[in-house]
């Protein structure tokens, strides 16, 4: 009986394209204490493509080292309140070696009435 050996090599390529976000990080980053990228590196990285848009807020926390946050968001909500909100949710998902990207959608509702 004749042995037949078939030997093939094949490559499959899949490609996906999307628009490059500028800046590549969203509204905030939560940086773990032993994350491979520290807050200063993250700020400098984003400063090159979007200068002066982000601020580092150093946090006194057992796991989280800092939050790098888009400055304009703090025009809408007071810094301390915003940090508390981010930390309350963020500390449930972040660990000491991770960096979490945070998207914040803030809608300000204002309602006023005037005497007619």
């Amino acid at each position: 009986m004749k042995n037949v050996v078939e030997n093939k090599k094949r490559a499959e390529i899949t490609m996906s394209m999307s628009e490059f976000e500028i800046p590549p990080m969203q509204d905030a980053l939560i940086v773990g204490k032993n994350a491979p990228i520290g807050p200063e590196a993250a700020r400098r990285m984003v400063d090159i493509v979007s200068p002066n848009q982000y601020e580092i807020i150093t946090i006194d926390h057992p796991i989280i080292e800092a939050i790098v946050i888009r400055k304009t968001i703090m025009n809408m909500i007071e810094k301390d309140k915003l940090v508390k909100i981010i930390l309350d949710e963020g500390e449930k998902v972040v660990d000491v070696s991770t960096i979490i990207k945070v998207q914040l959608n803030i809608v300000l509702h204002v309602s006023k009435s005037v005497d007619l």
């Binding site: 032993n34 994350a35 491979p36 990228i37 520290g38 807050p39 200063e40 590196a41 400098r44 070696s97």
Partner: protein, 285 residues
């Protein structure tokens, strides 16, 4: 006397750039045995990276995210006690030594504490005389008049012979403990030698006498080991005249010497304390 930081500072350090990777510094530690790195950004020192920082940091980080940006510097002629005060008041591992705006060395917490061990009396845990010399100089430099209270245990040789040297050592430890508890932020204590202790104060004569009386009372009321009755004699010497800052060592020697002679006189005359005659005149410039 008065060791300066230049005698113990590290000269084996290497500058590192703010944007260098932590891994680069870790490689220097492994290959060159360097543990401390002043961090440079645009020719300025902006922080310090220590071995401890390197252990904590992820190797992928940049130096900026691993360093300590609290920079404290002193000159190489500063005393080790000045360095101690800096380390006591700041959570830092290293202090930079800068002379004429140039970085000449680094002093580390571990290095300093190893040196301070040489200036610590092993029996009582009190500092030795170098500590008093430093604080006397500091007082005179800040235009305050130093006073020395010299305390000497009466008949300590007899106590050693009668009860044994181990009991004698325990008594010295007990006295040291009483004295230590009597100190405040303005007073400084050291074991001068044998059964003698020296206290430095910035007090005038009346306050010195009150302070001495309180200490003597605490010692005489203390229940020492095996109920051995302990009495001490004290000598008080004040530098009540103006002193010349350039001759501080002579002032310190003279103060301690006069206070020790006064304590001997108190012992001979069976008084609890004696005030030294003011036989020398100095001027504070």
């Amino acid at each position: 006397m008065m060791r300066s930081v230049s005698e113990i500072m590290l000269k084996n350090f290497r500058n590192i750039n703010l944007l260098d990777g932590v891994k680069k510094a870790q490689d220097f530690v492994i290959n060159e045995g360097i543990d401390y790195f002043p961090v440079i950004d645009q020719k300025e020192i902006v922080g310090i990276l220590t071995y401890r920082d390197l252990i904590k940091a992820h190797p992928n980080r940049i130096v900026a995210d691993a360093m300590n940006d609290t920079i404290i510097s002193i000159s190489s002629s500063a005393s080790i006690w000045e360095a101690k005060e800096i380390f006591d008041n700041n959570d830092i591992d290293a202090v930079l030594i800068i002379d004429n705006e140039e970085l000449t060395g680094i002093i580390t917490r571990n290095l300093l504490y190893a040196e301070l061990g040489k200036h610590t009396d092993l029996l009582t845990g009190l500092y030795k005389t170098d500590y008093i010399y430093y604080h006397t100089r500091k007082l005179i430099s800040s235009k305050k008049n130093p006073a020395i209270i010299f305390i000497d245990v009466n008949n300590f040789g007899y106590i050693d012979k009668k009860y044994g040297h181990i009991q004698g050592d325990i008594i010295l430890k007990e006295i040291a403990s009483i004295l230590k508890q009597s100190m405040n932020s303005e007073t400084f204590l050291c074991r001068f030698g044998g059964d003698e202790f020296t206290i430095l104060t910035p007090y005038d004569l009346d306050r010195c006498i009150n302070f001495t009386k309180k200490i003597l009372s605490k010692i005489s009321n203390y229940n020492f080991i095996n109920n051995i009755k302990i009495n001490v004699s004290a000598g008080i010497a004040l530098n009540s005249h103006e002193a010349d800052c350039s001759d501080i060592i002579s002032i310190i020697y003279d103060l301690i010497n006069r206070a020790s002679l006064a304590s001997t006189k108190a012992k001979k005359e069976k008084h609890s304390y004696h005030i030294a005659e003011d036989d020398k005149v100095y001027s504070i410039s």
